[in-house]
Symmetry: C2
Subunit: 164 residues, 2 copies
């Protein structure tokens, strides 16, 4: 798929069919995350891929705003070391994964990790050392819903030429 | 360009040739930013496009780590309202712009805005209201340098299956 198409087609998909994602596609997604820009080339990220149903359901039971993770085929948890720009880095990596997932015909949804009461619990469940912070949980699967209509601000409302 | 290609080809480009970017391409880039995921669909972003040479040089003179903005053809300043997830939202929008810029044959570089001593000064120069925070400054132009070799952590070092 062309880049602009993938960017336009991406949406927050919360309903998935029961179909597992081939391992090589998951690796390609994490590869996309790995290639994101990172301040001072620190690359503070680690990616934990969860595909086991029991574990997906356990995470879903903890994450109030991510109950649908329990029905997803995969969840990629993005962690970063606590660097000055970890949140920018981890967010860029997350966005790369979402865009490529769309390109690959997958539905995806970014579930917040940072600033959430459950972030340490998720970290502990996944055996991630305390020096890492949860940035996001990415729910992934083959979509069982179309892109919903969502009111979006129009380009001419938010673009400013030379000054605000 | 295919999405995966654009993700792989993106790099931090800091040298540009003297050639202006057509207005419709700049609009397409901001459109890509506008289509990024945003927590609770708040869309807290505003995009200030700078193409005037004097203003690019003024910004460059303030931004220590972004002196090359003075030689860029364009700089997109990404601002967000101070919401809980403004940094994730603004970072996702920034990454969309970088990926699409690569697709369009442009060089780009993400210059940090958040947590920087110059962020308020840039905001004031651009006439942006105080309620907004600078997330990033994106330098853009036709590249005068190839993608440099940069040591990247390999996939098998950072991917973890089921647990860390």
């Amino acid at each position: 798929m062309q880049t602009y198409q993938a960017i336009k087609k991406r949406y927050s998909c919360r309903k998935f069919i029961k179909k597992s994602i081939p391992k090589d596609l998951i690796e390609k997604l994490v590869d996309a995350g790995r290639l994101a820009p990172t301040a001072r080339n620190i690359q503070p990220w680690e990616f934990v891929v969860i595909t086991e149903e029991d574990k997906l359901k356990e995470i879903a039971s903890i994450v109030e705003t991510g109950r649908f993770i329990g029905e997803a085929s995969c969840c990629i948890a993005v962690f970063c070391k606590d660097t000055k720009y970890y949140l920018e880095d981890g967010s860029a990596a997350t966005e790369n994964i979402l865009i490529l997932a769309t390109d690959l015909g997958l539905g995806s949804c970014w579930v917040a990790g940072d600033k959430k009461p459950y972030s340490e619990q998720i970290r502990d469940i996944l055996g991630v050392p305390q020096e890492f912070k949860l940035v996001s949980l990415i729910a992934l699967g083959y979509p069982a819903e179309e892109k919903p209509f969502l009111e979006k601000r129009r380009l001419n409302e938010l673009i400013h030429w030379e000054k605000f």
